[in-house]
Amino acid sequence: MTIILLIAFIISLIHLSVSKRLKTYVSVLAFQGILLFGAAFIELIRINLVNLLFILLETIVIKSIAIPYFLNYLIRRNKITRESEPYLPDFISLVIVTAIIFGSFLLSGTMYTSINRLFFMAAFSGLFTGLYFIISRKKIITHVMGFLVMENGVFALTLAAGAQMPMLVNAGILLDIFASVLLLGIFVNKIGGILKEQEAGQLRNLKD
């Protein structure tokens, strides 16, 4: 069952690479949150109730509900046009993300581990696809979304780390996501207040 969920996660990355509308990005991020919750629930069925509730909070409440709501608020508030504008055409994005997934397949094959290879594949795909989105998209809000895709990849990696997920690791992810998205959101608001079109190309004044 976990295999299906993780494969759906990887396929959602491919979907992200060709989607044009910002709303699709937000919905796919929410969907990934639900998939990761399912995978976590199945893998960690043996742990105690408090830890399980914490993970439930983290995935469903924050990843699938709070953050998409906050992103929609930012999009509406700053009147960001609903298209995400990439530097590369969509087809090239598709090829690159497929290459990233294939590369993570090869990379996870070299890991000396008895743990399920699929977790590593999902984690590396999420990580490198997130980095790719940060590089190849023009709008600032899509930079934040690329960061969130990276965080989903990191979550898959914590599932791979084993059945004992220490509380500290959980707290770490929560701190990372929550505070980073909050602060990034505040600054997206401020940038939106000053710049008319929210393009990263306009943030070019600081150079030598």
């Binding site: 940060i134 990191v154 990372d176 980073s180 602060l183 710049l195 943030l203 600081l206």
Partner: protein, 475 residues
């Protein structure tokens, strides 16, 4: 004590945020400085004792705490002078000081932590408080600097987190769970080197955003440029030390395994590239604060080269770190005064500094000589030891190229500083120039004198602390 310190600092920061009266600001800042000094003295006397389950004061933590305590005093003082000379809204002042207190507290937490994930949490907190400091002037350029800093540092610290996860996997293979440094040091030879290598790559790359090394140095340069000068001084000294600490502690763990020389090679590549990039940019740069920011990059590159090179290098690296913190912070405090006089940071708009601010010009001149490691500067001793350690570990080509690059850097920096000090500006507006009293440069003279003293005649406690900090490294 540590619990008291954290709660006290949190309370002070909240009060600073809510308060709008000047006198209360002074009282709260002095209270925080006293708290910081008490913590430093306490940790100095109680080394090696575990507190609050995750914090231990070892020798390196005590050295960095003392540096932080010494530099935070002029940082607060110069921040007050900065605020008294402009029209600031009260809430801007509150946010600045509150963020300053949180930055210094989270740095103390990062220095003292004995657990790798707790270090990560506190360094994450420094990112947030530092971005509040960078975003102080609220125009488009500072917004851009803050955005870049926040984004690059968050992504980099996510990479550190991934590295910590790989380390957890390495531990689980041998059945351990505890991520504290003492446990990792004791069990390092048992861990699978493949996982350790991946973990080291991720953790090192992540912490370079704080330390200002290649590859993640860019955000740091912008932050030091755009933040107010006292905040820039803190970024260049104590925040850089936190990045160094993150890298150093993991390097220490690797020293007990078979991949120590591989890790040394990684440090050497990064250090060398940092010096190279810094020298190229310093040739081109016309903004004084950016020039000093790139100079920080050069020095941390030298420190990384030293760390890769054997026992003399280890001692020299920590000595250089301490001396660099004092020198660089004093120069940043001085550039605050330069900006107040000329209202510009470019070398074209500034000049003939001796005429407008004699004490400040003397600080800049002596600071330049001390930073370039000319004798009797303490940094002459540490740089000499670094170059000697490069020679003794048979890295002759790197030594030769580094010497050439350092000469080039001294020339570029000297060109800009002598232009600032001696050659009149293109269009000086003497009417609008502020008269700065000489006693405002007193703190910088004290810091520079401290550098000379620590280099030439260091107290025994100081050298003993450095030896304790490196005693776990081989050789």
């Amino acid at each position: 004590m540590l619990g008291t310190y954290f709660t006290g600092a949190l309370v002070i920061s909240l009060l600073l945020l809510l308060n709008r009266k000047k006198n209360w600001n002074y009282i709260l800042s002095v209270a925080f400085l006293i708290l910081q000094c008490i913590l430093t003295v306490y940790e100095f006397n109680h080394q090696g004792i575990q507190e609050l389950k995750y914090f231990t004061a070892d020798a390196l933590a005590v050295i960095l705490l003392v540096i932080s305590c010494i530099i935070s005093v002029p940082a607060f003082w110069h921040s007050y002078i900065y605020f008294s000379k402009g029209k600031w809204l009260p809430h801007e002042q509150s946010i600045y000081f509150s963020a300053l207190v949180i930055l210094l507290t989270s740095l103390s937490g990062a220095y003292l932590s004995g657990h790798i994930a707790v270090t990560w949490i506190f360094v994450e907190l420094t990112t947030f408080s530092a971005s509040a400091l960078v975003y102080h002037r609220r125009n488009l350029r500072t917004l851009e600097g803050t955005w870049k800093y926040l984004f690059v540092c968050t992504v980099s610290l996510t990479l550190v987190f991934i590295g910590i996860l790989f380390l957890t996997m390495a531990l689980q293979q041998v059945g351990l769970k505890n991520l504290s440094y003492s446990n990792l040091l004791a069990n390092a030879p048992l861990l699978n080197t493949f996982w350790l290598k991946i973990a080291f790559l991720f953790i090192f790359t992540g912490y370079t955003c704080k330390a200002g090394l290649v590859p993640m140095y860019t955000a740091d340069i912008d932050a030091k440029d755009k933040a107010p000068s006292p905040a820039g001084a803190l970024f260049s000294s104590v925040l850089l030390n936190a990045g160094f600490l993150g890298i150093f502690r993991f390097y220490l763990i690797l020293s007990h395994t078979g991949i120590f020389s591989w890790a040394g090679q990684i440090l050497m590549i990064s250090g060398f590239l940092s010096i190279f990039v810094a020298s190229v940019y310093m040739y081109k740069v016309k903004n004084i604060k950016r020039m000093f920011a790139y100079s920080s990059m050069e020095h941390i590159g030298l420190i990384m080269l030293a760390l890769a090179c054997g026992p003399i290098g280890f001692y020299a690296a920590i000595l250089h770190l301490v001396l660099h913190s004092f020198t660089k912070s004093s120069l940043f405090f001085q550039t605050g005064q330069v900006y107040r006089i000329y209202k510009s940071k470019s070398v074209y708009d500034t000049g003939d500094y001796f005429r407008y601010n004699l004490a400040g010009a003397l600080v800049l001149l002596s600071g330049f000589f001390i930073l370039s490691a000319l004798p009797p500067s303490g940094m002459f001793i540490s740089e000499f030891l670094i170059l000697r350690s490069l020679f003794e570990s048979n890295h002759y080509w790197i030594l030769a190229v580094v010497l050439l690059l350092l000469t080039w850097i001294i020339w570029s920096m000297g060109k800009n500083i002598f232009k600032l000090l001696f050659i009149p500006a293109v269009e000086p507006q003497e009417m609008s120039m502020e008269k700065i009293p000489p006693w405002e440069s007193l703190s910088q003279f004290i810091l520079l004198a401290l550098v000379v003293y620590l280099g030439l005649n260091p107290p025994f406690a100081f050298t003993e602390l450095i030896h304790n900090a490196i005693k776990n490294l081989p050789g």
